[in-house]
């Protein structure tokens, strides 16, 4: 009975989405308050109904109800509880239900917090949001129904893909989806603005926090996915420029651009048209990501052609959403009034530069991701576009962007003073340069550009800190007053500093690992010792170990440094019972910010086994950086002030800076 309740709730949610996509919009056009008011309540109804459906599916997984086909295909009664739950979204059908659940959740949030929006705008936004919901619910029910039943329930399921049985998976997709779907709110606002033919003041206030929230989720999701690939796949890499990864990276790049242009819009009422376009593009890239991952087009263009129902459906969604929104944009954009003016050298100018570079980077990644697919579809030739392409194209775009980042917050709105900004950043630049030279002196070997990269990271961090010290005038008076002033700075400023410093942290991690990593791939027998990165790894032996639904062959390593034992590493080769599929479980030991990373390969002759061992200096910074960025985003989100960019008057720069009022 429970699966059927879920099924019906999902169908009813589709009905509600259809109602919501028509009535509020109609009401907004007619000026009918009654029709407009249905927008909020139908949004709540959808949240309730999709939640019922999701919980029904979860219950089926928890109870191992094998009369539900989806459960048979993706679960097993012996699976640990955590993976029974994550199994709900560890497959195509369930993950689409989660996608829609998050979508209607955001829709309900718009309804709850939209009280201060103009009624017409709120109704239109909710209707546009419902279009997306309706189309995806239709997609689920027509091609990926998770509630398909079996009349003869088998006694056991076929288990979840073992590589997905990992705590990393428990949080990666929900975060990623929250990011993807969060951008749908910005999209709905953009389309609503185009339908209304004007951008309200409230519009600008709304888009930035929504984008920021979605961006935080997406950043966490990508970082978690990267770490998951790092420790689960056993290859020691943390980013593969794999199309699936790029699919989430594309909306992140354009979402970051959107975030910055939304700031300009909120504070200065400028860049309206561009922000609307970016909002449309960002959600389109989210949809593209969903299409790439869900249609099967990535495994092979031909596999896609053999079972095209799902792929074609998502492709149609993509064409209608992107094509429709862009057509609307072409038609209506001219009616949007452009706002405040600004000089090229100004905070706005810096943000425009940021937008241009991020968009270019996004374009490069898009080409690198789609070109192989297009080539295979047209000529049947299979090529892979990997790290060399992106190193040669993506990096040169990012370097000037990263160099410019600290300047942005130092420039004033409307018209800035580049020379003054440079003076304020002098200390940061000097320290970064010293770091660079010191590295050249100390480190031998490694790529020539590596110290430059580290210096770039230091520059980003110190540049971010310089902004806070400058704005709080930390060193121009007693320290206590300076600190008090720093604490009084708007939280948005702290958010900016943390986010920019987080980028620097990530850059340092990436450069350090890429340039100074040590790798050994050897065949080891029990008793053998391996030297790597100043550590000695001794293989003590192999041991079998039984888990709830898998059996491991564990290699037990003792880690010594300078003869003293500092710990053990236990990488394993794991075989899952139900599928017989082998996976690797890496052994990772964190020393400070660096890691020792060992994974087992194939068994050789006479008890030997292939062992991959890596010493990865500062590798954890790669994931700590995004964490710092997200903390920055959250800090900025808690700043509920309204923002006005206070432009400096043309003659203001001639006046001495006013002393801070006595506090």
């Amino acid at each position: 009975m429970i699966p059927e309740i879920g099924h019906y709730a999902l169908v009813l949610a589709l009905t509600m989405a259809l109602v919501q996509s028509v009535l509020p919009l109609w009401g907004a056009r007619r000026g009918d308050a009654g029709l407009m008011a249905t927008g909020a309540s139908t949004a709540y109804a959808q949240l309730l109904l999709v939640l019922v459906a999701f919980l029904a599916l979860t219950t089926a997984y928890l109870q191992s109800d094998f009369s539900v086909l989806n459960v048979v295909q993706n679960s097993h009664s012996a699976k640990p509880l955590l993976y029974k739950i994550t199994g709900v979204w560890g497959n195509h059908e369930g993950s689409m239900v989660l996608w829609v659940l998050i979508l209607v959740f955001f829709g309900a949030l718009v309804a709850i917090f939209g009280g201060n929006l103009p009624e017409g705008l709120r109704a239109t936004v909710l209707s546009v949001q419902a279009w997306t919901t309706a189309v995806f619910l239709l997609f689920i029910l027509a091609t990926s129904n998770p509630f398909v039943r079996l009349s003869e329930a088998p006694i056991e399921g076929t288990d979840l893909n073992p590589i997905l049985q990992d705590p990393g998976l428990a949080f990666h997709p929900p975060l990623l989806y929250a990011g993807y779907v969060g951008f749908s709110v910005a999209f709905s606002f953009a389309v609503a603005a185009l339908i209304e033919g004007r951008v309200d003041a409230a519009w600008a206030r709304w888009v930035r926090p929504w984008t920021l929230a979605a961006w935080c989720f997406l950043t966490l999701g990508i970082a978690l996915g990267s770490y998951w690939a790092y420790y689960e796949l056993g290859w020691g890499g943390w980013w593969f420029w794999d199309p699936v990864e790029n699919a989430s990276f594309l909306p992140w790049l354009s979402g970051t651009a959107l975030l910055h242009s939304a700031i300009v819009m909120e504070k200065r009422n400028a860049l309206k048209v561009w922000t609307v376009l970016l909002a449309i593009l960002t959600f389109s890239l989210s949809l593209l990501g969903t299409f790439l991952v869900r249609s099967g087009v990535l495994t092979s263009v031909h596999a896609f052609a053999t079972d095209p129902t799902r792929g074609v459906f998502i492709l149609l969604i993509l064409v209608f959403a992107v094509g429709g929104a862009l057509a609307l944009f072409a038609w209506r954009a001219s009616s949007l009034q452009s706002g405040g003016l600004f000089a090229p050298i100004s905070r706005e100018g810096a943000l425009v530069l940021n937008n241009l570079l991020l968009s270019a980077a996004c374009g490069v990644v898009l080409i690198g991701t789609l070109y192989p697919l297009a080539l295979e579809a047209v000529t049947g030739q299979k090529i892979s576009v990997g790290a060399p392409f992106f190193d040669a194209t993506f990096a040169p775009i990012m370097v000037p962007l990263l160099l410019a980042v600290p300047f942005g917050p130092m420039l004033a709105w409307k018209r800035g003073d580049l020379y003054a900004a440079s003076q304020r950043l002098f200390a940061a630049a000097a320290i970064a340069l010293v770091c660079m030279i010191a590295l050249y002196a100390v480190v031998s070997g490694g790529p020539v550009l590596a110290p430059f990269g580290i210096g770039l990271g230091v520059w980003l961090i110190l540049g971010a800190i310089s902004e806070i010290t400058f704005r709080s005038k930390l060193f121009s008076g007693p320290l206590s007053t300076g600190l008090r002033r720093a604490a009084g700075l708007p939280r948005a400023a702290w958010g900016t500093m943390l986010a920019h410093a987080g980028v620097g942290v990530t850059v340092i991690g990436i450069v350090a690992v890429t340039a100074y990593e040590r790798e050994e791939i050897v065949s080891m027998k029990p008793g053998d010792t391996l030297d790597i990165g100043g550590y000695e790894l001794t293989l003590d032996g192999f041991a079998p170990r039984e888990g709830p639904n898998y059996s491991d062959t564990v290699g037990i390593f003792t880690v010594r440094r300078g003869g003293a034992e500092i710990g053990r590493l236990e990488p394993a080769r794991r075989v899952y019972v139900a599928t017989g599929m082998p996976t690797t479980e890496t052994g990772i030991r964190t020393q400070g910010l660096s890691q020792l990373y060992v994974s087992l390969g194939d068994a050789g002759s006479e008890g030997a086994m292939a062992v991959r061992a890596y010493y990865k200096p500062l590798v954890t910074l790669i994931w700590l950086g995004p964490l710092v960025m997200v903390i920055g985003g959250v800090v900025s989100l808690t700043d509920r002030r309204l923002r006005v960019g206070a432009p400096r008057r043309a003659k203001a720069s001639e006046k001495p800076i006013q002393p801070a009022p006595a506090e």
């Binding site: 059927e4 019906y8 009535l23 009654g34 309730l48 109800d65 009349s151 006694i155 409230a202």
Partner: protein, 404 residues
Amino acid sequence: MVLWIVFAVLTGLAILAVLVPLTRATTRVSEPDRSDRDSDIAVYKDQLREVEADLERGVVNADEAEAARAELGRRLLAADRQARTLGGAASLARPVAVAVILLVPLFSLGAYLTLGSPNMPGQPLAARMDVSPGTSPGGTPQGQDIGGLVAQVERHLAAQPEDGEGWEVIAPVYMRMGRFADATRAYANAVRLLGSTAPREANLGEARVALANGLVTADARAAFERALALDPADPKSRYFVALAARQDGETNKAERAWQALLAESPADAPWRPLVVQRLAELGVEPESAGINNRDLDSRGLDSRGLDSPAPRGPSAEDMAAAAQMSAEDRAAMIAGMVQGLADRLAEDGSDLDGWLRLARAYVVMGEPDKARQALSSARENFPGDTEEGARIDDTAKTLGLDQS
């Protein structure tokens, strides 16, 4: 019944979600131009207050605050100019309400009834485990029971994984069910917990071969070699070690080993036909005397080599399984295969070779009447004086079924 009540409640809630705001807000018809502009102006006023607050906290200085105020003033004026004109409209609440009350249940139920299975109860595993054998609902009772029993043994083994006897009991069941991975694990556990014996090692090896789709892997071979170290005469291990040699391309070695196995086997040993057939695949006649292969006509059962998979024939694993079965079991297995062939031909009679094979099989099983029946069915499918008809007649003659 409960299900339909739940459906009704959900539908009712959904309709109310539309009707309540629709009728409640209907009393006032808003003036969107006013409300939009008001909301803009409210935002700008909030922003002005914010500028004052910033000035007080010293975040901006007086000049900047002044500039911000001027900027907001400009925006306020612009907002005033943007006022749109949209007249209030007559309320549509009643027709919309009627449409919602009718269409929401109609569409939802219509879509659900085409997609869903309202009469199918949920079957949580725990509840199914509690049902005692024989009373399980739905499905084929017997199949369900075997599955249920297996699941109960599995539960027991999950709780007490050191119970070697349990593993040994369930392993052959897994083999029959085609769950070779589970069978391999069960036999491996039996060997680990109960100790290594020749039959256990041989069974473990066989399960590994089955898991590898008939290929004798290094792991499997190791198991057979351990079995032979314990009992050099163990026939199953000897058979598979020879098969490994053949798969390695050492045909001569394989042939010698199989010939030796035949020579040392009793005339009614169940594995004999299989070995004979393997030799036949190598194009070799069995040397050993007392060959007793008439009970399993190799052509009649059309077994196949590993390299040439043909549809519907028994697999190498089936044959291996047949080799270790008792005579009764084997007869049952053959009968099952013959019945399967007959069923298939009853559905689609265009397979002449199938008919001839069926007739031969019935003769082998000592049922000449059924064989005649099969041949006459074949004639019905291939009427007239054709080449096929001639072949049917020839077969009837060779099998001694010629009725004329």
